[in-house]
Symmetry: D2
Subunit: 443 residues, 4 copies
């Protein structure tokens, strides 16, 4: 992922240095277990841990380059790493990796990385949830127009809008927790996963120490349906990021101006047009959502590896492992900050709400007419006619025009008088269940 969209916390998980440190931890734990179950000398396991720990801790860019240099000869990354570690550990090094295969290290290491990444993403979602909750309560009863098809429909509150996104992000949190569990498994099962030369108890030991479960059947690799499910979950979360970003973009449109991304002192919206204040953060994360969605497909194609494994998944994961998690991490944190600091214009919301002459109350009039005895079809026709007349000839200051047009209709006037109509069209009627919905969402 490009630096611009990379936060250091997430990048650290995917650095080559950290990757090697995790590899060593797996090898050292495996050695401990092997010693415990009598496969290798206790002394060797102790030396691996004692000499290996400082060496692994010391891994920096230079060390990475040294390991790379070995790999250029062996053309095998794990062997290169073991060779380099062996140079610091000495004799006992030959007891490392006994009966194991590279994938035991690589796949378990990837599991550790994906689990940590999931933990960060869950924390990010918590930040989004906190921002949404704060603002939802702030605007719990702030009237705003609800829109379907981009067309004014009926009043809602700005708090309700945010509560809906909160509910979605609560689901997204649950999906990330499930995705984390999907990949939190450990494999130390040797070539083709038969445990022919390694004891299943070694796997159990390493898994427990790393906070993972054992993979029931690892055919040399941890099966890739797990990773596919993980990246698919990220794609769903990213799509939720996009939904909220698109909402902000709509609200900031010049004709709507109900909310705006915070505009910093010194910020320039456009190189050409000094008047511009653009929703660039939400547009930015809309694009990142597309990226994260795009990473799900290669992960799905990775599932059908050949026989006990092929390595075609590896190049995919070297890229999308970091890119999908870093991209989503960035988008979530940007979103959280954006919501937290969103400039909201309640008066514009009211202005827009009233701008269509009251037609947004058409359903309630329809119901009142039906209940007053007019058939549904006739009621619909009468209300539609009054609404269309209002709509098509709308001028400034016509906030009550729909009411007037309704009363001018004989079908309506015969059944409902002005006072009743005012009661029917009272916007507060729309918010009687806001409390109920909030209690569903926030408990």
């Amino acid at each position: 992922m490009v630096p611009r969209y990379t936060r250091p916390e997430m990048a650290a998980i995917w650095s080559p240095e950290e990757r090697y440190r995790i590899w060593f931890e797996i090898e050292a734990l495996a050695a401990e277990a092997m010693a415990k179950f009598g496969t290798i000398p206790e002394e060797a396991a102790r030396e691996i841990r004692e000499k290996g720990t400082p060496r692994a801790a010391s891994i920096d860019a230079n060390a990475v380059e040294e390991i790379d240099a070995i790999e250029r000869v062996t053309r095998h990354d794990v062997i290169a790493f073991l060779t380099w570690m062996g140079q610091g550990i000495g004799e006992s090094a030959r007891f490392m990796h006994q009966g194991m295969t590279s994938s035991d290290v690589l796949d378990t290491s990837l599991a550790v990385q994906m689990v940590r990444a999931a933990d960060l993403l869950i924390a990010d979602v918590d930040a989004v949830l906190a921002a949404l909750k704060k603002r939802a309560f702030e605007f719990k009863f702030t009237p705003t127009i609800g829109r379907s098809h981009g067309i004014h429909a009926e009043p809602t509150t700005f708090g309700l809008k945010l509560a809906g996104h909160y509910a979605e992000f609560a689901r997204n949190r649950a999906r990330l927790v499930a995705a984390r569990a999907e990949v939190a498994t450990c494999a130390i099962s040797g070539p083709v996963g038969t445990f022919a030369s390694t004891d299943p108890r070694v796997e159990e030991y390493v898994a427990a120490k790393l906070g993972l479960t054992v993979e029931p059947v690892s055919t040399q690799v941890i099966p890739r349906d797990r990773h596919a499910a993980y990246f698919s979950a990220l794609a769903v979360v990213a799509s939720g990021v996009e939904r909220l970003a698109v909402e902000v973009r709509h609200l900031q449109r010049s004709e709507v101006r109900e909310a705006e991304e915070y505009f910093h002192a010194g910020q320039k919206g456009s190189s050409a047009m000094p008047h511009k204040r653009n929703p660039v953060l939400s547009e930015n994360i809309t694009g990142i959502a597309r990226l994260v969605r795009g990473y799900a497909h290669p992960a799905l194609e990775n599932v059908a590896l050949w026989h006990e494994r092929d390595i075609s998944h590896s190049s995919v994961e070297r890229v999308i492992g970091p890119d999908a998690t870093i991209g989503l991490d960035f988008a979530l944190m940007r979103l959280a900050g954006m919501i937290d600091k969103l400039t909201v214009y309640p008066e514009r919301m009211t202005e827009n709400l009233e701008s269509l002459g009251g037609v947004v109350h058409s359903q309630k009039v329809l119901l009142a007419l039906t209940q007053a005895g007019l058939s549904r079809e006739e009621s619909y026709a009468a209300v539609q006619k009054a609404a269309m007349e209002t709509w098509t000839k709308l001028g400034k200051g016509d906030a009550k025009k729909f009411r007037d047009n309704l009363l001018a209709s004989p079908e309506v006037a015969a059944r409902i008088d002005g006072a009743t109509l005012d009661k029917v069209m009272d916007p507060n009627r729309d918010f009687v269940n806001v409390e109920t919905i909030f209690s569903r969402v926030f408990g």
Copy 2:
């Protein structure tokens, strides 16, 4: 979905007739609830149920055409349906759909369909699981070569291969159960979801009757992250179907011939080449897996609807709702039958296993040498050398050539004698943990 890949059970869920019947059930339940909570007369709800039930039951192709004809005028499907139903229900019809919006019906109906589809898919996976389990136990100790990168690696058993797929399908079952729960919600919340003209208890009543939960915040629509998660789960399952199908395709290759799809009497493999017996079923479902994967992306793009809703999701769902579930249903059932009847050739497995002169035991020799005191690097070099010599000059009947080449190596011979080597290379050693793995998978 084309008829060729459509099973009637799944198609029935998505027929227009069934869809309308579900719509009626929702409207009738809502009317009952409204009567219960005093919004409409009890009499009306009773009449809607009594006159509506036979009318809904009678919906056939002709009725669908009549409803379509109304829609061509109203350009609105739910209004067309209500009008048609109203013709049979009479007066009380005007109390149907009170305070509701089309999406209340459409989205809850879609939820019912997706839940039923998930139930069928779960049953399909159960059939796959049953077939895999039966065959896994049948071949629990049938030796076969494990392959990584398509290259012979170490021995495994055919039962273990199938157990690995069983474990994956057990995960897929859990994913479908989770996906079912994702979409099993009900919305009867009116325009923009505020319950302005409908009582939340109506929603609770309908949800309970339909076996659904209430949607916490439905902004006119049930939020589409649920559907995206559902179709993503289907994509993961489809990829698991593909993995098993690809395994069969590999096993049936002419050079491998370890297993074959059942070949029917009268079947012709090729119009041109009478000798052909092709793995067409597994190729067929490989393709269907691609389709089902492809349907996930539009579902993800559906999440970011505008404001309280736009209807761009609808055309997508009218197509992928049936297509993804029908396609996956077909693929799963075809897979179950294919595994159940798969012709397996254990003697070919043995033949292939032994065809590389024993080099597939190289790791065990490497470990034995290491334990006998040779460094890992020297051991690796000696074993690789013997293996390469075996490999490159392999003739028929050279099943022991690797052993001979090893004993001809001074580094090896100095540490291990022939008898030890035979013990090291005993294939039974590879299967010592088959029981453990089976108990992990099958309990």
Copy 3:
């Protein structure tokens, strides 16, 4: 594809009846060529043509069912078809398909279908182009605000907007023409494509008669990179459909109301809210665009068939062949009609254009200041300050507020007077190059 999104012209191309008729045409042409080059008796070719033509013409739903019944035994579609045709042709039938393989028929037939589908799609695009051109000239100089990031930027004309879409659809037309050429090839090369038992001149003959070119190397199948390119082109075109649909959806938003989809007499926008007029056509095709995009990926996965061919592509193509072309055909024709009948509100455009107090002219003021000697940075700061003051305190009737604020700024007033400012901010200055752009697009 569901009937709702299916036009009969496109559906006809993909009907089983038509498919069989194309198969016969290929077989009959191949027989003619074989007779010509001496492989089979002239008499046989003549009889195949004479007896086969009426039989093929007679293929209806019943015949399809008969062929299907044969396929249920042979499990091979081409053999089933040949058997059924043979029943009507008699003795000479055995000379059909000599030295050919099923794929020769299937792939050449698919090529014919995809070419015809491309022709229809090209005609559809022509309809879109015609509608866009007509409306572009109609509104060539109709001022409207150009928006970047959804924020008012600078004036443009509604004709220019449409001209931009015209230019894109002109590119899309070229892409479809290229896509058509990609797939317009014929293969009659026998098993694994060696022409071992068929003369390459037969292929040349059939290709020429069908308006196709010969496939240079068909390894039993026509290589699937061609189909992948074809469906990818469809995905690009669909995305262009979406761009225009999204534009209309924005223009129809309640706060913008600059254009509206034609609203039919009798149409109902919402079952609940009689006042609604929703951009449902453009939302509908936005969804269809997602579908068509989604079909490109399975086509790309089809490329890497195994060795000389496997049949995994077939199930994919049976579905996306019709679905992608039918879906796009429907979307294009719906789009053409929608543009053709779009209700446009020039007065609303002007109203919106002036609604921000003139800040949309900020760039021109910036340039004037720079040219009057102020540094770019200072100019930017002065103009931004005046614009922000205008923007944030904007009331009704403040169409000139930006001008006033500029003149109140000492940095500006020192360099530019009111008259100059009026000249600088004259909206007509924005349209001086409309003619140039139109001549680029329309020639």
Copy 4:
């Protein structure tokens, strides 16, 4: 893209330093044109070029950091760059970027980068083509079995296999050339693309100097259907890379062993199993193909920008611009080297070809029987019976078993004798048209 899959030539195109240098070139050329057409002083243009050129040339990591620091205040990348350049250019700097908008620079710069990337990719494909051609002629008449469905079908030659891939890469070359043309356009049209403050001749001048065409209608941005078409073309090419990689993976399978990736001295195939020689290069690029395919979808979603533009495409392109081109460049060059050095085993090809007892000649026998007067159905049945008997009871050394079984069949023996059968089954008959196909492909 991760360094592991990055070649410096392609990376250089996408470096921030190079990006800024291209920006300067565009600004300097635009200034020249503006001077030429009288918008800015000639002197200014000269100074911009003279002082700007060395400053741009000097851009290194430090300069990038300085520009980034400015951007952290302005939150606008182009303004930050202009400010930094202005510090070196002095007074005349204020004449840079006159009447232009950021996108004029950004989009034209991206066009330059994508064109250069396309040029590299085309050169890569040329390397693949050269390797394929060399090896195709080397093995022009090397017999090998053609396989459909992974099952032995009929003989072909290894040269023909490679010729087929050559033909596909020739098409891929043409697609890249077309993709290059798609994006090779220049926009200097100012805010919302009206040329309100810039002369269209400036655009023409810059375009010509940069080897680009002018964008007919750039609504502030170059329309993204161009980029979508470009990345889609890359996806098609990547899928062709995968097809060839999958072929090599199949050929290297232990049971097939007809070809092998070059195995380097010192290389280790497996950390556990010293005998392994794995097709890791082709597996690696199989994965990269999945990545490149995955990048097409976000590019397609980028097309439907809002109104005259939004910036959601930008984050997508910052990532997939480099990632897709770098990934594909790496895969192509790896593929070229792999084919060039592929170890081929003609004797194994013969061995496999003969391994099924001759049934691979079944079609030719079928034809001979048909021509000898037996009906197609009877011929098919007789040949299928003999083939199945051969197949199911196949032992070592049964290379002629099919022939024997045929002669044992009364239906066959009545019509064809052994000598005729030998002629019919002569493998050389399969290659009579190899020359024709080669001349189609290589001219």
